[in-house]
């Protein structure tokens, strides 16, 4: 019987106090604990992180980049969602 492939994990690191975890790469490991240890060794050798998350890559559902036009088109025409769309005279100051 063939040995199953080692599962793939996505790694997220909180680089600084107060920031959200950010995706930084992926790695192979047999379970979550080993994935965390491997993530520490691979991605934080120079103190890049305060906290690490590992998530099985198979648990991620992604949008299809080739359909990004259709996916994000609705936001493109809505310039009134931006503050610069509205006229506020300069004398009024920052708002």
């Amino acid at each position: 019987m063939a040995t199953p492939n080692t599962p793939l994990w996505e790694v997220f690191i909180r680089s600084r106090n107060g920031l959200a975890h950010k995706h930084c790469g992926s790695l192979h490991a047999s379970d979550a604990t080993m994935a965390l240890q491997a993530a520490r060794d691979i991605f934080t050798r120079r103190g890049e992180g305060l906290s690490i998350w590992v998530v099985p890559s198979s648990a991620i559902t992604a949008s299809d980049p080739s359909e990004k036009g259709m996916m994000f088109e609705p936001a493109e025409s809505k310039i009134y969602r931006h503050p610069t769309f509205y006229d506020v005279p300069e004398e009024v100051g920052h708002m």
Binding site: Y80, R81, V88
Partner: protein, 330 residues
């Protein structure tokens, strides 16, 4: 992104809160460290934040009602598109905030049920009616102006998920106040009748907006610990004063009169307002404002009438799961 699964094992609240843990926690706060969902925290910190963030979320959701009232009657397509976009934003902000509150270990369903049962509060301001189009301008200019004054310091709140949600909210909200002011400016440069409508809206909203900052410092029950925990960075009265000082020149620019004949400017340039009618505030909080019953009825109706959508989505997900399992087995 966060789920309760992050808060594993027994809830932290069951720990005996020894003085060492509490002191270490306070030291982290004092050092401006952000507290994250898996960190140890005092039970009272968790409870205070769950209450505050969920109330904030409920306010965003209930806040859609007074403005939604005018979407179909906006005076132009431009105004209608802007108002729709603003109400969509409020909904999104409610969802960011519910997600932040959930990281503290209470489920979305419990939080929403607390509001529908009348146990959890939302901002008193949304219990006032929007009678004319000028009310929509006034809400953007003053209600959102006051909300921004409150929310900017919350971007530095000690609880990480709340602070990060507020950063996103503040960034997106920057257009809300401007669109409100633009409506007011257009009315004030319009006919006599339009300007009178703008003044009438200001007259009705001014005092309720000042109440949005909460009870005066001498009567506020939550401020001391919230300040020590850096959930709150400025007192209610400090924020209220900042808001008044920023708003008076804007009203002058519009040519409108603040409905407070006793208002004076002190030597430091601060505008001193008259005594606020705190009995009215208490009445509105107790459920006796002009629209409390309407707002609750609208939320309950929406929740009940949306039940079939939640059921259908769950049933569809279940059906799809079985189909995929069956396909995988072939």
């Amino acid at each position: 992104m966060y789920t309760q699964a992050l808060n594993t094992s027994e809830s932290d609240d069951r720990h005996v809160e020894d003085a060492t843990q509490a002191a270490a926690f306070q030291a982290r706060i004092d050092a401006e460290e952000r507290i994250e969902p898996n960190d140890w925290m005092p039970a009272a910190y968790r409870k205070t934040l769950t209450r505050q963030i969920s109330q904030h979320a409920h306010s965003e959701i209930v806040g859609m009602l007074p403005e939604g009232n005018w979407i179909t009657r906006a005076p132009s397509l431009r105004r209608k598109a802007a108002l729709l976009a603003k109400v969509q934003d409020e909904c999104g902000h409610g969802l960011y905030l519910y997600a932040a509150a959930e990281t503290l270990g209470t489920s979305r369903e419990e939080l929403v049920d607390g509001m529908l049962a009348g146990k959890a509060k939302y901002s008193s301001i949304f219990n006032y009616p929007t009678l004319t189009w000028a009310d929509i301008g006034t809400i953007g200019w003053l209600v959102d102006g006051a909300a921004i004054m409150n929310q900017i310091p919350l971007c530095r709140c000690s609880y990480g998920p709340y602070a990060r949600a507020m950063i996103r909210v503040c960034k997106e909200e920057s257009f809300h106040q401007r669109q409100g002011f633009e409506i007011m400016l257009t009315l004030c440069r319009g006919t006599e009748g339009q300007k009178a409508m703008a003044q009438d809206a200001l007259n009705r909203w001014w005092w309720p907006v000042l109440m949005m900052f909460g009870p005066p410092d001498k009567a506020s029950q939550h401020s001391d610990t919230s300040t020590r925990w850096k959930i709150k960075r400025f007192s209610n009265d400090e924020l209220r004063q900042k808001f008044v000082d920023a708003t008076v020149p804007q009203a002058q620019f519009l040519g409108l009169t603040i409905p407070d004949p006793g208002m004076t400017q002190d030597d430091g340039g601060h505008w001193r307002y008259s005594e606020i009618d705190w009995d009215e505030f208490k009445q509105v909080l107790a459920g006796n404002g002009p629209c409390n019953r309407d707002r609750m009825a609208a939320r309950r109706k929406a929740h009940d009438e949306g039940a079939w959508v939640r059921d259908a989505a769950a049933a569809f997900a279940e059906k799809r799961k079985h189909r995929q399992l069956a396909q995988a087995a072939e």
